[in-house]
């Protein structure tokens, strides 16, 4: 009887997981609205190169910045957007895509700060605005980043909103991402994104890895240095490729033995929308600056040579990789049985002979990035301070050489 009940439960959960993998979020919001179009303006997600440019919270209410922005606005923007911010400046009247009306509270509330910065920076030179006939000039070469923030802060005052222009003040700006999150992510990551969804605990019962707690500062898969939040591109990569892992029996419905499914079947726009919602769960994303320059650079992979593998083997021993991963890389080092993650859950040392299960990817550049950044919240440390780039490549190639079949470079795995 209990066995039947367990089988039924297992089949039910498996069905749910397969359903999650197959989920196709709607291109419209739950309330039926498409991306709001205000006078032809589509508030589409900012592309990855702008996605991390969040305006510091203090800018929106800083009187000095608002005054600075007012001067810029009067000389650069008002001719189209109007002295009253209503989009009715004399040069804007005949434009096919009407200038934004900053007095439109609902329209302004839907504009995320990175979208706004992208628009000011690139103007109408990029799609989808170019195709709509936007005459908005790009200001990135004439206005500094601070000048662009200042003019945004001044434009924001027309909306009548007092306080920083952030998603937790304007939940409607992440409404589409919230809807997708509810459909695709809540079962594992939980309604509040704390990694406590009902299905998540069954993926690897009483063992790591568990679903990410998006409200914490610890993210495993990053291109940023140890202890920092990931870039949006990092999150996008994880969302697109999923997370490979042996996992428990409940994960067999996820092809390739992923502990997190790949969401590459979602459109890029939908993935970016859900990531904007995910970031909104952690205000740390608004407290950092210079994100792009903080990301660890991954140099182009060098040519693999026997000498490089020899050096890598020595580094493998010197860096004590074998304590956890074992001499042959099978995850059977002397410390392996005692490893725990930051939730005090037992965690397995990765079997380096199975690169198809490397959680952070198995291309040479993925292994290099993992070595340099570490995996936050796990015993895998960052070697960013102890290895020179060339040494990191030596070690990355040696790690990949441990795999069955001797796959090392070009083939890789994802």
């Amino acid at each position: 009887m209990r066995a039947k009940l367990f089988t039924s439960l297992a089949i039910g959960v498996l069905g749910l997981l397969v359903g999650l993998w197959l989920v196709r979020p709607p291109t419209t919001r739950a309330n039926g609205d498409k991306h709001e179009e205000k006078g032809g303006h589509a508030h589409v997600p900012a592309p990855l190169e702008y996605a991390d440019v969040h305006v510091p919270l203090s800018v929106w209410t800083d009187p000095a910045m608002i005054t600075r922005g007012k001067e810029i606005y009067a000389t650069r923007c008002a001719v189209c957007h109007g002295d009253q911010g209503d989009g009715k400046g004399p040069a804007g009247v005949a434009l096919p895509l009407k200038p934004s009306d900053f007095r439109d509270k609902a329209g302004v509330a839907e504009m995320r700060d990175n979208y706004w910065f992208w628009r000011v920076s690139e103007g109408g030179q990029v799609e989808p605005f170019k195709g709509k006939g936007s005459a908005m000039p790009p200001w990135k070469s004439e206005l500094s980043v601070e000048d662009r923030w200042a003019v945004m802060a001044y434009q924001h005052t027309y909306s009548g909103h007092n306080g920083p222009h952030v998603p937790w003040e304007h939940p409607e700006s992440v409404a589409m991402g919230r809807d997708i999150f509810a459909m695709a992510c809540v079962p594992c990551h939980g309604a509040a994104g704390k990694g406590d969804g009902s299905v998540g605990a069954m993926l690897a019962p009483r063992r790591a890895p568990q679903p990410r707690d998006f409200t914490s500062a610890e993210f495993k898969f990053r291109s940023t240095p140890s202890g920092q939040l990931p870039t949006t591109a990092d999150l996008f990569r994880t969302l697109t490729e999923g997370v490979r892992s042996g996992g428990g029996p409940m994960t067999i419905g996820l092809r390739g033995h992923r502990i997190m499914p790949s969401f590459q079947h979602m459109s890029v726009e939908q993935r970016l929308e859900v990531l904007e919602y995910v970031k909104n769960l952690n205000r740390g994303f608004w407290e950092r600056r210079e994100v792009q320059t903080l990301a660890v650079a991954v140099p182009a992979p060098p040519v693999l040579t026997p000498e490089r593998l020899t050096r890598g083997k020595q580094l493998y021993a010197d860096a004590e990789c074998l304590a956890c991963h074992g001499a042959r890389g099978r995850g059977d080092g002397s410390s392996a049985p005692t490893l725990k993650d930051n939730r005090d859950l037992p965690i397995a040392a990765t079997d380096l002979t199975r690169p198809e299960r490397f959680k952070n990817g198995a291309r040479p550049e993925d292994v290099y990035r993992t070595l340099v950044t570490g995996l936050a919240g796990t015993p895998m440390p960052s070697y960013g301070d102890s290895l020179e780039p060339d040494q990191a490549w030596d070690l990355a190639y040696y790690v990949l050489s441990l795999s069955r079949g001797g796959r090392t470079t070009e083939a890789g795995f994802r």
Binding site: D83, A91, A94, L95, A135
Partner: protein, 65 residues
């Protein structure tokens, strides 16, 4: 798309008034030779004999060369 400019095409820009106390913008007529490469303009056209003929060219932004 090629837009044909004719002598009767009106070329305008909007500038701040120079008179003290005045606000808003005043329309200024420009000659064709005043237009510089790289400026952002909007053009109102009419279809004429298979061509798009400019009626009004409005300077949106004078970009430095």
């Amino acid at each position: 798309m090629t837009i044909v400019l004719k002598p009767e095409t009106k070329i305008v820009k909007f500038a701040r008034p120079t008179e003290p106390g005045k606000t808003g913008f005043v329309e200024q007529q420009l000659a064709l030779s005043d237009l510089k490469p790289g400026w952002f303009v909007s053009v109102t056209t009419k279809h004429e004999s298979g061509n798009e003929v400019a009626e009004i060219v409005t300077v949106v932004v004078e970009k430095p060369q």
